[in-house]
Symmetry: C2
Subunit: 312 residues, 2 copies
């Protein structure tokens, strides 16, 4: 019997997190409030990511940027996101009418009719991944230096996929390091993070497994993209069981984009060639959920080694 | 001559912040990237807010909650926001079609036509103010205890008002303390914060001025609401000159909602009466901008007393 909810034993991880006040139900699958405890775990993990990024021989100091959860719609359109993942994107619409239009809107709202007919597309869309805002900013700066560039990003992201799986939130935070440069430079960056990431996550005492992966490209034409991505080894994911043992959740991902963003945005390296890019992404809510799943709901009772890795 | 941009002297605060890399242009007015320096100022100010909240005789410990930038559309509709501020809200729309619909969408995108016709309203809207998500959550918990309740919130918020004034962002963070209880309890909370807030901001060495205010209610019928709000002294704002000396910017606001949210959400106090609510809100980007405006773009050169208040 759960001491908090008293009458019904919560069975799923999501129910347990909600009944213990770690996540807060808002009536929408995938949109949850976060308690102070949950946020502290994320802040501690973010510090660990920062420290891990600074380890190794001659680490490159990243330029830190933080983006709001919305981005330029024109940049979003040019990124090709609607070609690959139309089902996940969120566009932002606003009322731009007058008193008369407002009156009609309120009447519809009052009658429980669809009142959103007057909502017009704005210049912004929800950020689908932390790095989508970055590429046009870097392109505008002109050619890269000879050692390329490295950025440290974090942003709330949106994906329209309502689900009871707490690891599949509609609004979640993604931390990212994004490397720009020659193919060799960005491949070395990704290879280093594949190693560093595994060491880092093992300190957290969670079972990890790295595997070749593909993005959830949309529709029939997306199947070919998935196969190409796997065949070329462009995406690796670090999986941890959260909602299911059989289908563990991707908590970190390691992506080599080749010249995809370089070509899209005209990114040029120091020799005048199209720049290559790679990124490592950390699903912050997913990592926190993995920790609660494997170490229990009471952070004070987590294993000493895990507490030390996070709280020092 | 600016050392960074070399050729053109930036004249406005926004241009200065961008040319010094403190804010990052994304091509959309009111949507900016934040540098590590800007984020650090906000983090230090948030700590100061937390410490200030814990000062005084027998301070009530708040329950900490953090919300994502989107909320339940049904709760948003019931809140009355579309009645008061339809022009500022942002609804979130997604593509829910099939391969054929996707093909049409991509064709429109390719031809630079409006491709958003197939975007359907989702169950979520952008959060307009940090506390809008909170009221239905508190209502669901049942009657308040005799000393009421206090919450510590923070959230990214959206307001559709593109502007060159950096203090009028479309996406910004709001920190809030929200008090629930008897009229006397919530009025005492607001009065205490009107004092504490002034002391806190004076430590930051910025010129502050507290004034009676009103919300930007929409349209003709909104004029009456504005007058009522002012006549009853329901809203005070702490103003600091940022973009203009004549029209200083509201950086903190102190609001007594009476039983507005209590009635809307069926919030009940310990005696079975409709609960009253009040909040104090901190516009985090606005406070950071005020600091850069009054102390300059180099945080290391800010006055010692200001650095001490923030960095300790």
């Amino acid at each position: 019997m759960c001491v908090v909810c008293a009458d019904v034993e919560p069975t799923t991880l999501l129910e347990q997190l909600i009944s213990h006040g770690i996540l807060i139900d808002t009536g929408i699958d995938g949109i949850y409030g976060r308690s102070g405890v949950f946020e502290d775990v994320i802040a501690r993990f973010e510090d660990l990511v920062t420290r891990t990024g600074a380890e190794g021989a001659n680490p490159m100091a990243p330029e830190v940027m933080r983006f709001p959860p919305a981005m330029n719609r024109f940049h979003f359109e040019r990124s090709g996101y609607m070609k690959s993942f139309p089902q996940l994107a969120g566009t932002i619409h606003s009322f731009m009418g007058d008193d008369r239009g407002h009156f009609d809107l309120l009447e519809k709202l009052q009658n429980n009719e669809d009142w959103t007919g007057q909502q017009k597309t704005t210049g912004v869309v929800l950020t689908p991944a932390a790095c989508y805002t970055l590429y046009p900013i870097v392109a505008k700066r002109g050619p890269l230096k000879s050692d390329g560039a490295l950025f440290d990003l974090q942003s709330y992201c949106f994906r329209h996929e309502p689900s009871k799986d707490p690891a599949r939130m509609q609004m979640f935070r993604m931390r990212e390091f994004v490397r720009f440069g020659k193919p060799k430079q960005v491949q070395t960056f990704r290879a280093a993070w594949l190693e560093k990431g595994e060491v880092m996550m093992k300190k957290l005492g969670v079972p990890v497994h790295v595997d070749l992966a593909n993005d959830p490209f949309f529709g029939r034409s997306g199947r070919m993209l998935k196969n190409n991505q796997r065949d070329q080894g462009l995406k690796f994911e670090m999986l941890i069981p959260i909602e299911s043992e059989e289908k563990p959740t991707a908590c970190l991902s390691f992506n080599y984009h080749q010249d995809h963003f370089g070509t899209t945005w005209g990114l040029i390296d120091a020799d005048g060639e199209t720049a290559h890019t790679a990124c490592v992404g950390f699903g912050l809510e997913r990592v926190a959920l993995a920790l609660f799943k494997h170490h229990g709901l009471d952070v004070d009772a987590w294993p000493k080694s895990v507490r030390k890795a996070l709280w020092g």
